[in-house]
């Protein structure tokens, strides 16, 4: 473990951040500033989306309608999903990519800094527009985040607003991923070959390609909704020769790769955190890369497993069942590789590692329910029930969100130059890990017992597990308040972090001082530094 002198990079670019809010943040071109803005934005969206989830769980705490009109309930579920997916998880990953990718590949910044600024600043406007739909006549979109017609086109003024917001988010993600791709393909320091890139860069590279392929498809689908509603086309209406199910096919052709867009960078973070705290290189690096690429490829040929009940031909159902089951293979390879990385390691349990371990266990549970959902005959019983809700929350909350938290706890000392309050972070972990299971595990039972999803009220036989789930939700929601407190304290001060921060950390970002200088790798790292940072 080469503990290094850290000033090997020549910090020739001495000017710091620009003065003044507008010059520094509105006109930001520095990848670290933009990364910070993305992460802060994602944090705000998580709390807004989380507040909506609390409203949903409060209504579902017991049978009968206590707080919400059913239409408003439907708005809440729809907006919760849109805020969490497009406002929370995706911008959080772009924020981490902005911060870490240039530092990890020895580039001075993202390849296209002004584009980077643009792709961030679209987002606040997109979400202002989206949240303002809550106040227009007819209320905000209430047809589910999947926007299935004909239901979604029954919406009032909110429909064009939501579609415009989705277009803006799409443009933002496409520009963001273009930036990631060209940074990784063209801006790597000489000597950082593709197979020497850390897995976080690899998974992001594949994610970025997925985004560029599928965001235009989503944009196309919602454009067709718009023309159906306002310009008399009938893409999705049988009365003019269209087909409502066509929308579902197009939507899920976007939607399934989107699921992997949310989770692949999580695989990257976990693949960095586990080796660090096991003090052992990642097991099977190349097979991890191939597994990620296979998952990316398979994501394009499984989409119709979201819609087995629309009445597809038998051959179609068979095809999508088999391809869906195949995804278990590369995902299994990943889980086995992570387990093998911990085997014969020297494991310590700092907060990032705790979140990564919770990810391993709980994401695997989400994988199991995913496998069950792939079985078409059984899926007819699971489809559109709380079993599905439990499944995708297991892969998204302890999957994506826990990894985002792990990544932030992992790199925060490098960003701020201070260690955070470990005790507080561990409290955050234990409360999250316990409550997330109280929240989502009972939803498996509810689904199997026959409770459909997206209903504001339910038969009394579902009361008990719903009450448990709601208690878990409130506990989980409250425990997340510890996270901004821990981050705020760490940014304000604390024990000075070493350059390596974690004993077992490897990679170019740890060869920089803590906090990372405003301009890093102005001179590309030397081969010696690259070799020291590289583990494979």
């Amino acid at each position: 473990m080469a503990h290094s002198a850290t000033d090997t990079h020549a910090d020739h670019d001495h000017h710091g951040p620009a003065k003044g809010f507008i010059r520094r943040w509105v006109m930001a071109t520095n990848h670290k500033d933009i990364g910070t803005m993305y992460l802060v934005f994602a944090g705000i969206m998580f709390f807004i989306g989380g507040a909506m989830a609390m409203v949903i769980r409060a209504e579902l705490f017991k049978p009968g309608l206590q707080f919400l009109d059913p239409q408003l309930f439907n708005s809440m579920t729809t907006m919760h999903a849109l805020f969490m997916i497009f406002g929370g998880v995706m911008p959080a990953w772009v924020g981490l990519a902005n911060w870490m990718i240039p530092m990890q590949v020895g580039a001075p910044d993202m390849a296209l800094p002004r584009l980077n600024n643009f792709s961030f600043w679209i987002l606040p406007f997109a979400f202002l527009l989206l949240i303002s739909t809550l106040f227009v006549p007819g209320g905000s979109p209430a047809g589910g985040w999947t926007l299935y017609p004909p239901l979604s086109v029954q919406g009032g003024d909110s429909l064009p607003m939501a579609i415009f917001a989705i277009h803006m988010m799409g443009i933002s993600s496409i520009l963001g991923s273009i930036n990631v791709i060209v940074t990784l393909m063209n801006m790597r320091a000489p000597g950082v070959t593709l197979l020497r890139m850390p897995l976080f860069c690899w998974t992001w590279l594949i994610t970025a390609y997925l985004l560029i392929l599928v965001m235009p498809v989503l944009a196309g689908a919602v454009t067709m909704l718009l023309t159906d509603h306002f310009f008399g086309t009938t893409f999705f209406s049988a009365s003019g020769g269209g087909d409502p199910v066509l929308f579902q096919h197009v939507f899920w052709f976007f939607g399934h790769p989107e699921v992997y867009i949310l989770i692949l960078p999580a695989f990257g973070v976990v693949s960095e955190v586990i080796p660090t705290f096991s003090r052992k290189p990642l097991f099977g690096f190349e097979s991890m890369v191939y597994a990620t690429a296979s998952i990316g490829f398979l994501s394009f040929i499984v989409w119709a497993h979201h819609m087995f009940t629309v009445g597809m031909p038998l051959a179609g159902q068979m095809f999508f069942m088999l391809t869906t089951m195949l995804i278990a293979v590369p995902t299994g390879v990943k889980v086995f590789n992570w387990s093998a990385t911990m085997w014969k390691g020297s494991i310590s349990f700092e907060p990032p590692m705790l979140f990564a371990i919770a990810f391993l266990f709980l994401f695997t549970i989400g994988g199991f329910s995913g496998l069950m959902l792939a079985m078409v005959p059984a899926d007819f019983q699971y489809q559109d029930t709380y079993f599905v809700v439990a499944h995708f929350h297991y892969v998204l909350v302890p999957g994506s969100i826990f990894s985002i938290i792990a990544g932030i706890y992992y790199w925060l000392p490098k960003w701020s130059g201070h260690m955070y309050n470990m005790k507080l972070a561990k409290w955050h972990f234990w409360l999250s890990a316990i409550f997330v299971n109280v929240l989502f595990f009972p939803q498996h039972f509810l689904g199997l017992a026959g409770m459909p999803r997206r209903i504001p009220d339910y038969s009394t036989q579902f009361s008990d597990w719903n009450a448990v789930s709601s208690i878990g939700a409130f506990g989980f929601g409250l425990s997340q308040l510890l996270f901004p407190i821990a981050i705020w304290q760490c940014v304000r001060g604390g024990v000075q972090a070493t350059d390596r921060v974690w004993e077992g950390a490897h990679g170019l970002e740890w060869e920089l001082p803590s906090p990372a200088p405003y301009h890093s790798w102005g001179t590309p790292p030397s081969l010696e530094v690259i070799n020291r940072g590289s583990v494979h």
Binding site: P150, M321, F336, F368
Partner: protein, 270 residues
Amino acid sequence: MLRKSGLTGALLAAMTVFAAPAHAEWALNMTKGVTELSGEIYSLHMTIFWWCVAIGIFVFGWMILSLVKYRKSQGAVPDTTMVHSTKAEIIWTVLPVLILIVMAVPAARTLIKLEDASNTELTIRVTAYQWKWQYEYMDSGVTFFSSLSRESDAARQLDSGIDPASVPHYLLSVDNPLVVPVGKKVRLLLTSQDVIHAWWVPALAIKKDAIPGFINEMWFQILPDKAGIYRGQCAELCGRDHGFMPIVVDARSPADFAAWIAQHKTPTSN
């Protein structure tokens, strides 16, 4: 009707310790249902569940063993040369493929049976509306609407002040149930007049979307000794009152069914 469940495990045991309120259900699992195929689907569900448990015991066991055995605090020294093993990687690629094949075979077999809607003895057209169902017996012309029962509808209003527990089968009862004969292969032709809905009765283990402008087909055959009332709900978000368009199937003996048809034919048919 707390069901005997196949699900076990410490977690569940810990969770079921909660004191049960008056109307406690705490149901954990799917039921076997009342058709031959629903039983088959149930066993498929349990088979794959136990496969997942077995794989889980192996994977989680391995992880827990690592976490216990190789702790730095216990003086574990990392073996930094262990970075790759072609043999292991081949094994954990091929083995899952084999397990998947073993699981896919019964699933495919059941699926083929499910899709075989030939030789049905009774056809009912089901038309979905926001937010009720219309049933039309194609052979006899009996037609009626089926919507949420009045008691449930009163209790489900915002701040109605009516305790849902006091309403029998709250949200799962209708004014006019769908009456079908047991032992006969019944075909449903599904369509919709407005948005997409989905017809689902868990005990029959069938669910399919009702799509405006298109007709979907599905079938069920209730076991001859399983006459009774079976309840379900719309399963596809269909707007404001999506949660309030239940389905009730009243399965009767063929003789009782014929009597019911004869009774309803004259006044309601056209």
